[in-house]
């Protein structure tokens, strides 16, 4: 019998407690720093080594480079991630030797047409907010560990 009153007390007390909900669509929800969100791509750093495209488990990265006239190597020409199949597994950013592709904390990918899910170089380059911070430090550390 006393349990009933106790239960009523609990709910009454809960009514005045601060709400735990977020105003999500109105206010953006910030993800923690290690969140695996939509990639940011920096064409300046890319050396067209193709490692990201090869390690990608769903083959969603397509890239092409073009010959540089005076120097050795290539520069990136097109870079596309197909977010229909991308599983945001973080492997492309881990394998990238220069940190040209990095994870951000952005996650809003909903679109009305599937075609819009092919994100090209320009779009990925402009996706430059909330870039994951630990990336640069980790690149150096990982290389050190391997050797």
């Amino acid at each position: 019998m006393l349990g009933l009153v106790k239960g009523l007390g609990v709910t009454l007390k809960n009514m005045t407690k601060p709400k735990v909900t977020y105003r999500y669509p109105d206010e953006p929800l910030l993800m923690p720093n290690r969140f695996r969100g939509i990639q940011h791509f920096d064409p300046e750093k890319c050396i067209v080594c193709n490692q990201c495209a090869r390690i990608c488990p769903t083959d969603c990265i397509t890239l092409s480079g073009k010959k540089q006239p005076e120097k050795k190597g290539k520069v990136i020409d097109t870079y596309t991630i197909n977010f229909e199949t991308c599983i945001l597994c973080d492997l492309c950013t881990e394998v990238c030797p220069t940190g040209a592709i990095t994870m951000t904390n952005n996650y809003e990918l909903a679109v009305y047409s599937r075609d819009e899910l092919f994100k090209d170089l320009e779009w990925l380059n402009q996706n430059n907010t909330h870039i994951r911070e630990e990336q640069s430090g980790n690149v150096a550390k990982r290389h050190g560990g391997k050797q």
């Binding site: 239960g7 009523l8 709910t11 809960n14 735990v20």
Partner: protein
């Protein structure tokens, strides 16, 4: 006088509809608050138009009548359920001047009419030709009939001490002491039985979403579903008003605060009961089906009978007898 006969009920219907709209809204708000949520807040300022939007949606929906259902019964079931729920409001005295009809057996009228709704629910469950709705309807009928008995029995205590079934006289008898004090046992039994009559949590077995999908109104959609929903909330209005009249002194002001108009006092007490119902729903889990009947017949009914006996005995005791 004659024009009031027409305008009065229409006004009451509007008030009741407004109450239903905002009762549903505040129910969702209160349950939200109890769960540390905000509740509906998207439609209109502070979400105030949420229920209006919901009702509009129901009105625009297609009126589906299942192929293998009993069409005539399916059509009239919501009407049979709704009409008594509004008709019982006729005897409720809202204040010393606002009332619709005032006859000698008001309480009996309420109890008798409110049990007609069970038939509507049963017909709705049966005519849908669906096992969930049939089970919901059966459960509902069994539950509402068994809880009607302790409900009536708990009120007998009041009838004994007032010596009348007229609701106005019952309120007049509470000028000094509200019946919640001398009839506390009766009040508890009445409240529990009333919640069960309303099919509300923790006695919402007839519409247990998790076991029966939705109970007797599974097959109903659109306007007819809205009518069943409306019935439930009009009954909540009626039952909260009846509880106020029977146990909380109706429009009588407590502590001699008579400068506040009687209707305000009535509304305040009424809203307290309504809030209690929401609060209870936010708190309690559902009763098990096999415990439900036992609780009614083996616990509530004996306590209600004991309350009658106690009232009879205490009425004869010199000093305390004045309160009974």
């Amino acid at each position: 006088m004659n024009s009031w006969l027409l305008i009065g009920p229409v006004l009451l219907l509007l008030v009741v509809l407004l109450f239903v709209v905002y009762a549903i809204f505040f129910e969702r708000k209160v349950i939200g608050w109890a769960q540390n949520r905000i509740g509906p807040n998207r439609v209109g300022y502070w979400g105030l138009l949420q229920t209006v939007a919901d009702v509009l949606k129901l009105l625009f929906k297609e009126d589906v009548i299942p192929n293998k259902s009993d069409e005539l019964l399916f059509r009239i079931a919501p009407i049979i359920a709704f009409v008594p729920s509004f008709a019982v409001l006729a005897v409720i005295p809202f204040s010393d001047s606002i009332r619709f009809s005032d006859f000698a057996i008001g309480l009996l009228y309420y109890m008798a009419l409110s049990s007609i709704t069970i038939i509507g629910i049963l017909i709705g469950g049966w005519s849908s030709n669906n096992k969930y709705s049939l089970m919901g309807g059966m459960r509902s009928a069994a539950q509402m009939i068994s809880y009607e008995i302790p409900l009536v029995m708990s009120v007998v205590g009041i009838v004994l001490s007032v010596g009348s079934l007229n609701l106005t006289e019952i309120v007049e008898a509470q000028k000094d002491v509200w019946f919640i004090v001398p009839q506390f046992v009766g009040f508890v039994v009445f409240l529990i039985a009333a919640i069960s009559e309303l099919n509300r949590c923790p006695f919402d077995l007839p519409e247990a979403e998790s076991e029966l999908v939705a109970g007797y109104h599974v097959e109903y959609s659109g306007f007819r579903f809205a009518f069943f929903m409306l019935t439930e909330y009009v009954y909540m209005f009626a039952m909260a008003a009846l509880t106020t009249v029977l146990y909380l002194g109706g429009w009588n002001a407590p502590f001699g605060l008579t400068f506040i108009p009687p209707i305000i006092w009535f509304v305040l007490k009424f809203l307290l009961i309504v809030f209690f119902l929401f609060w209870l729903r936010a708190t309690m889990p559902r009763l098990r089906a096999d415990q439900l009947m036992q609780f009614s017949w083996k616990v509530l009914l004996p306590i209600a009978l004991l309350n009658i006996l106690l009232t009879c005995v205490l009425k004869e005791v010199p000093v305390i007898g004045a309160y009974f």
